[in-house]
């Protein structure tokens, strides 16, 4: 049903996100990455599946937990790493950091430090495309935490009344920082909120790459057909706390164990081995290539010069 090439590409992305985050946490512990860092570990299948189902011309809008979206969209790992290390060669010249990477070459309109704020941005991108008469979908990633922010309701309504080609990808990882969703929503099924706005809404297993991919592909087709927006809630769970320095002690062990048993990277590897009949050696070769690219990127970032303070001060002098 899926070509080996497709499953290989997906697994490569899943593994690239997993190793990127794991390696960056080490760099953080070494003091090479500073500031906030929100790992995407455990949620890799959502970004990977959604982005695999989009066209190059489509837009994505990311979140503070955005490295996975960036990689899945095809960002350059070395420019990401350089940015995380605050270097001049990074995506934002060291001005943005983890929470502000945007990559216009892949129509990634950027991560965001304000939970929920990206939702209207994506709606606006879709609105602009509609005004220009262009066939472009905007996939907007946001979280269960963002679903309790007013702009979620407002922006979903705008997308609905204007029939915009928007896929609202609600990554329900069950925690708003440390507050469990059950504590802040009577219904844990957040997709149901879309129904009241007349928006086609459903939930998917966010750890299953193929389910995410299929449902996104169908949603994108509907959007291109003028039947957007669509709200897709992807149920998932973080493998870590909210950020690198949050041990996540509030996350019950049995729940974490359950979701780790449904590890999206393992599921993706199994698809590649069983559906596409790839050999374990082939999988190892994919992994080794990803690891090599990552190590080269780390070296590039470490060796890159810092941004010039003098140039920066000149830039802002008369602002």
């Amino acid at each position: 049903m899926y070509s080996k090439e497709t499953l290989t590409k997906m697994y490569r992305t899943l593994y690239a996100i997993r190793t990127f985050e794991t390696r960056c946490i080490k760099l953080y512990r070494q003091g090479l990455i500073r500031g906030y860092f929100h790992p995407y570990l455990g949620e890799e299948a959502i970004a990977t599946g959604v982005c695999a189902a989009l066209e190059e011309r489509d837009y994505i809008v990311s979140t503070h937990r955005g490295h996975g979206h960036c990689i899945a969209r095809g960002a350059e790992i070395k420019k990401m790493l350089a940015e995380l290390l605050g270097k001049a060669a990074g995506y934002c010249n060291g001005r943005g950091g983890s929470m502000h990477i945007a990559d216009f070459s892949t129509n990634n309109l950027g991560a965001n430090g304000i939970v929920g704020a990206g939702i209207p941005l994506g709606v606006g991108a879709a609105l602009g495309a509609k005004i220009r008469g262009e066939d472009r979908v905007a996939a907007i990633f946001f979280s269960d935490g963002a679903a309790n922010n007013g702009v979620f309701a407002e922006a979903m309504n705008l997308a609905a009344i204007w029939d915009l080609a928007v896929i609202l990808v609600l990554e329900n990882n069950h925690y708003a920082v440390s507050t469990p969703i059950e504590q802040v929503s009577r219904s844990a099924d957040l997709y149901k909120r879309g129904l009241g706005y007349g928006v086609e809404s459903f939930a998917v297993d966010g750890n299953d790459i193929l389910e995410v991919y299929q449902k996104t592909a169908a949603a994108a087709a509907k959007c291109r057909d003028g039947k957007g927006p669509i709200l897709m809630e992807a149920k998932t769970y973080r493998h870590t706390g909210h950020h690198v320095n949050d041990p996540g002690q509030y996350m019950p062990k049995e729940t974490l164990d359950y979701y780790k048993s449904k590890d999206p990277v393992k599921i993706g590897r199994n698809y590649l081995l069983k559906e596409a009949k790839a050999s374990p050696e082939e999988v190892k070769r994919i992994e080794a290539a990803v690891e090599q690219e990552l190590e080269e990127a780390v070296q590039f970032a470490v060796d890159s010069p810092a941004p010039s303070v003098e140039e920066f001060l000149l830039e802002v002098e008369n602002a």
Binding site: H100, G124, A125, G128, E154, A155, L158
Partner: protein
Amino acid sequence: MTANTKTELAAATGRNIMLRQALNEALAEEMRLDPKVFVMGLGVAERGGSYKVTVGLLDEFGPLRAIDTPISEPSFTGAAVGAAITGMRPVVEILFVDFSLLVLDQLVNQAAKFKFMTGGAGSVPMVLRTQGGVGNGLAAQHSQSLEAIFYHIPGLKLVVPSTPYDAKGLLKSAIRSDEPVVFMEHKLLYMVEGEVPAEQYLVELGKADVKRSGSDVTLIAWSNMIPRCLAAAEKLADEGIDAEVVDPRTLVPLDKDTIIESAKKTGNVVIVQEAVRRGGVASDIASIIQQEAFDYLDAPIKIIAGKNTPIPFNLELEKACVPQESDIILAVRSRVHDKG
């Protein structure tokens, strides 16, 4: 054509229109020139805007470029930011500046910082038109002068026009700006008439205009305080006091050179601000002048500004909150007579 005062006056052909019509012309002209320009806001399309600034745009440009929105200010402003990031030039209308407080995240955290945060890769060419100021008994939540909030935020330009000519030329420049612009109109100025040439022109952002030349005292003001200062200046002239009236027209960028030049020339400065006194733009302008022209000043810089209070409903109480012509005259007299 970019103009300064003299050429502006020369260019004006005796065609008098209201400020709201001047704004309407600016929007229509820019929408004709650039298909990426569109307007959106509450009642801007079908109704043509509460202050009739967007009349006729729906008919000429259709519902995709003149868009009525729900009362969802944060999200339609955010949608404008998203559209701007992806190449459009949206002009959003927020009916009252008081409601712009609802959109501060999108304006301050998103629009103002986007270019910076992305290392210069992204840009947000959008205009947020809004309307503020005291007048007509609209009470505390529909009468504020909030320019200081936007003035404080790096990454935003801030336009505060006082005449139809300026309003039109500045709005056209704002729409063409690649950075986000807050364009603050005053509710009492929409129906004020002024000369506006029939041919197209721009007024550059960041160029002050000397609305009246004088030698004894510099009055610095913007928006609706300009007509008040000009009226006061005429009465002061009868007393033999020759006041210069400087209108920065845009607070960001601020034309410091023109302000300082005038302060040096007259040696006396009175800054007139409708907004509340505390934390206002007048204080910052005063600090710039004292730093750059201290030795030229004959007396301390005087600021007359709004009282530090929400605006009351009763018209007499309302009037007591903001500088009136008589307050300006008294302030100038005290400055000029105390001097030395």
